[in-house]
């Protein structure tokens, strides 16, 4: 029987395997579920898994292999922005579809990519708002790993905080290398910065491996959430599984989904997922939800278009709405990003999050940040005949800010 091939492009080895392996499993799980439900367009789905091994050029090579050799109809993949940037030209050249499920820095909207993770305004800004309103934070440490996502996010946050009247001297920005493991000095600096008599919080865009030693050092130096709360954008259930969270209770994370979301859809999903992985402790997390949403959107769009042909599916995707796992619906917007609720959670001692705040409605992604000089006039709208990812509302032209 003929099948529809679905590409899975997540690192299963190397430094990113720690995060991406779960997403590979998620796609496989979704494929199995869909096949059990009869497949798509009457055909079974077949997942094609490759391992780009946390190696960016290999991502491009593997993307090409999936599309050109394996002839997959769609690819779910990538975690880091650089891997996405690396495969982007391939998807454009070979006109295929990529679903990207991770929160990222924005500043991008491409015809062949669908972004189901959060843009900065769907994660960072609500988190800062929460801290300002609920914790009365006046002083801010923006700590991040030195790469594009934290840099951009912090740039946006800095502009945002200043627009809210936060003074220059009340913002401390700190960057560390990938995999930074000795946090003694920085944590001490944070402690010092936080002892200026104003309520202080840390906004962390620290990436992956560096988080465990960071939180361990926080615990060791006795920084409690009640003193200086840390809100993180890259720490979810999966990351916490590797840390003893007792000293971290009360620190926060902002996501669009938590495993602890208390709705029947989520309970159902977790149950199936744990059954699928044969592990009743297996956690779920936000990028997984984004993968699930993306997958379901693709299925729906294919059925709507009646074909897996990329052009048709790309057009059909806009406007597709599927249930998310937090009890609502997410829609694919013309800018190829989706609408999401924003949730703020506090770390509990069992490694789960206590959801302390949820935005009342869904937030639409600002793929082009209004807080950045170069992008504040840009919008994306991929509906025909407009079809432009970087339309300049000032000049009225597609193609960025160029004169």
């Amino acid at each position: 029987q003929e099948t529809i091939k679905v590409g899975v492009l997540h690192s299963l080895s190397g430094t990113m395997a720690i995060s991406e392996t779960t997403l590979k499993d998620t796609v496989l799980f979704m494929v199995q579920e869909q096949n059990a439900a009869g497949g798509v367009l009457g055909k079974k789905l077949e997942a094609v898994v490759v391992d780009p091994a946390s190696n960016w050029p290999l991502f491009a090579e593997k993307a090409r292999e999936l599309i050109a050799k394996e002839k997959v109809a769609v690819v779910f993949g990538c975690w880091t922005s650089v891997s996405r940037k690396s495969v982007l030209p391939v998807f454009k050249e070979l006109n295929s579809i990529l679903f990207y499920p991770v929160q990222y820095e924005g500043e991008e909207s491409e015809r062949n990519v669908f972004y189901t993770g959060a843009a900065p305004n769907q994660q960072a800004i609500p988190a800062v708002d929460y801290l300002m309103e609920n914790e009365g934070v006046q002083r801010w440490v923006l700590a991040g790993t030195d790469y594009v996502y934290p840099r951009t996010t912090n740039k946006i946050l800095e502009a945002y905080l200043k627009s809210k009247g936060v003074k220059e001297e009340d913002i401390m920005i700190n960057y560390t290398p990938f995999g930074h493991s000795d946090w003694q000095t920085i944590v001490a600096d944070i402690k010092k910065f936080g002892s200026a008599g104003k309520k202080t919080a840390v906004v962390s865009t620290i990436n992956g491996d560096a988080n465990v030693p960071f939180y361990k050092e926080l615990g060791n130096q006795g920084i409690k959430a009640t003193d200086i709360p840390v809100v993180a954008f890259s720490v979810g259930e999966e990351e916490l599984a590797g840390i003893d969270t007792k000293p971290l209770v009360g620190h926060l994370a902002a996501w669009n989904y938590f495993q602890s979301v208390d709705v029947p859809e989520n309970a159902e999903f977790i149950k199936k997922w744990q059954a699928y992985t044969k592990n009743d402790k297996r956690v779920t997390n936000d990028p997984m939800e984004a993968t699930v949403i993306g997958f379901n959107m693709w299925v729906k769009a294919v059925e709507k278009a009646g074909t897996t042909d990329a052009d048709a599916v790309i057009d059909a995707l806009i406007g597709v709405t599927v249930p998310n796992l937090s009890g609502g619906f997410s829609a694919m917007m013309p800018n190829h990003h989706i609408t999401k609720p924003v949730l703020i959670g506090e770390i509990k001692d069992d490694g789960q999050f206590d959801i302390v705040e949820q935005t009342p409605g869904l937030i639409v992604a600002e793929e082009w940040s209004p807080y950045l000089e170069g992008s504040k006039d840009l919008i994306a709208d991929w509906r025909k005949p407009f079809s432009c990812g970087n339309f300049n509302v000032k000049t009225g032209k597609c193609g960025g800010a160029g004169q």
Binding site: L12, S13, G14, T15, A17, I18, T21, T22, N134, E135, D146, N174, Y175, T176, P177, G179, H180, S181, D182, Q184, T185, I186, A188, D189, K191, K192, G194, S195, A196, G197, D209, V212, P213, K216, E217, G219, N220, Q221, G222, A225, T226, D227, P229, E238, E239, A241, G242, I243, D244, P247, G250, E346, D354, V356
Partner: protein, 540 residues
């Protein structure tokens, strides 16, 4: 007050009895107050109400208040039913009435009273206020410190009341400090009072004092502000000096981590000459051994948790040592005299080990907990020292000296050195080179495994753990001078301290870059490292 001073010299029993009396008096005075209003506020599922309820509870003096607050802190406070009521979860999950602590007959469906950071702070303040009258002096002191930290004005009356009754001088000074901390930021007190508070807090001279002093309100009298500014300046100057010492400490602590990571390599690479790319994986295996040990302890012998690292150390040594012996016997032994090929083989082995761990344990981090004696921190002067780091330094030095002694003083040590310097001749001297080679590689690997136990305390326990240490390890061994253990020690500490002294100026990234450049330049000056082996045989 002189009487209380004398009282403090009375036998303990008497003291305790008196404290009881005071407490009873306190309770009596406020018994009239009703805490049912507060209980009502706990059923609205709103943080604002919960916070208000906590304030009321703290001041109520009700004997039940402390129980309710601590139940909230422990997540054992629930509400439910119509009209909503509050319950405390007792042992075995039974719902108890918060006032009587008796099981309720018709328990409704309940939800926990939710807690967030704001509430946690309020809990701290409330339980602080409540334990200010505890019988245990240590607890009272803790409570005073907590109140001081929270600087919650609401706690002031309770604090002052407790202060009036306090006899223990240590507790008393803590309470005074707490009071001063609150007063500094309080509206409507006289400048003199505020100055007194500023001086009291200023005398503490630490980071917390700085924070408190900075909270002198804008509206305060000029002389108060002046006093505060002077105190701040003094503290800052003093702390700057301590800051250097602190950085050196951080450096030594980083150095000890580097030392631990490098020391096994100093054997397999420094002594044996194997370019051991799988060294990091040996460290990783040690960390996973710790994980497994802790898992077994958690599920089967929870009481032993605090000893888990002590159990893991010998096990990690033996386990990774055996893996090392296995690798030596199956691969490395065919490669002696071909140092460069060992790079290829050990690189392959490192890939295999990483993937093996990934297959067995999954790609994500594993949780390794800290035993109680490795958690927390203490101060020496204004030097903040975390226990975990201190133990790691001690452990690194112990491993170092044990190894040094083994190599220098024992027969096997001599044979190891002889074999690695001239394998063929060593054999002709009757030394069983196969055995010695296996033992040497096993020793180096075993030490790497022990390092893994320590590193599991501060870093990720993931399949990538080893990779993040391999570059630094080689750098340390080479910087110190290959084949010289002292070089590894001094090299590790130098790099650690240099890194930490650079970091405050250059930042973590530029600091690291500068350090690498410095090492490159240093090697130009001393092409064979810090503790270069000298002599004819080397220069030939």
């Amino acid at each position: 007050m002189t009487s209380s001073a004398r009282l403090s010299r009375l036998p303990r029993v008497l003291c305790a009895a008196l404290a009881l009396l005071f407490a009873a008096a306190l309770v009596q005075r406020v018994e009239a107050q009703d805490i049912s209003a507060a209980l009502g506020q706990l059923t609205t599922n709103k943080y604002d109400d919960t916070e208000a309820a906590l304030g009321a509870l703290a001041l109520s003096g009700s004997p039940a208040a402390a129980g309710i607050v601590s139940a909230l802190a422990d997540g054992k406070l629930f509400f439910g039913g119509t009209p909503p009521r509050v319950f405390i979860e007792g042992t075995g999950g039974a719902l108890l009435d918060p006032l009587t602590m008796q099981p309720v007959a018709d328990a409704p469906a309940v939800k926990p009273v939710r807690v967030n950071n704001r509430i946690r702070r309020a809990i701290d303040a409330a339980s602080g206020a409540l334990s200010l009258v505890s019988l245990d002096a240590a607890k009272r002191r803790e409570a005073a410190l907590a109140v001081g930290r929270s600087r919650d004005e609401a706690a002031l009356p309770a604090l002052e009341m407790a202060l009036g009754k306090e006899t223990d001088p240590k507790v008393k000074s803590a309470m005074n400090l707490a009071r001063a901390s609150i007063l500094i930021g309080k509206e409507g007190i006289t400048p003199a009072e505020r100055i007194a508070a500023v001086e009291l807090v200023g005398a503490e001279g630490n980071q917390d004092a700085l924070a408190i002093l900075r909270s002198v309100p804008e509206s305060a009298a000029p002389e108060v502000k002046q006093a505060a500014a002077a105190a701040i300046e003094g503290i800052e100057r003093n702390l700057a000096l301590w800051g250097v010492a602190q950085n050196v400490w951080y450096g030594l602590s980083l150095g000890s981590v580097l030392l631990l990571a490098a020391i096994g390599l100093a054997i397999t690479f420094g002594v044996m000459g194997v370019i051991n790319m799988a060294h990091g994986e040996m460290v990783m295996l040690g960390a996973y051994t710790t994980y497994v040990v802790q898992e077994v302890i958690r599920t089967s012998y929870p009481g032993l948790f605090d000893a888990s690292l002590l159990i893991a150390i010998p096990l990690a040594f033996v386990f990774t040592g055996l893996i090392g012996v296995l690798i030596e016997r199956t691969v490395i032994r065919f490669l002696y005299g071909r140092a460069l090929e060992t790079l290829l083989a050990t690189w392959g082995i490192s890939l295999i080990l990483q993937q093996a761990i990934r297959t067995i344990f999954g790609p994500t981090n594993r949780e390794v907990g800290a035993p109680s004696w490795m958690s927390g921190s203490f101060e020496i002067g204004h030097l903040s020292i975390t226990s975990g780091r201190l133990w790691i330094i001690v452990f690194a030095l112990m491993v170092f000296f044990a190894l040094l002694a083994t190599l220098r003083l024992t027969r096997i040590g001599l044979e190891m050195r002889a074999v690695t310097q001239n394998r063929r001749m060593a054999a002709s001297m009757g030394i069983r080179t196969n055995w010695v080679d296996a033992m040497t590689f096993g020793l180096g690997s075993g030490i790497a495994g022990m390092a893994g136990v320590a590193l599991s305390q501060i870093d990720n326990v993931s399949p990538n753990l080893g990779q993040s240490y391999i570059i630094d390890s080689f750098l340390v061994v080479v910087f110190g001078g290959v084949g010289n253990l002292w070089g590894t020690l001094v090299g590790a500490m130098t790099l650690g301290v240099a890194n930490k002294l650079l970091e405050p100026y250059a930042g973590a990234v530029l600091g690291k870059i500068s350090l690498l450049v410095i090492v490159i330049l240093f090697i130009q000056k001393r092409p064979r490292g810090l503790f270069a082996l000298k002599g004819r045989s080397i220069e030939a």
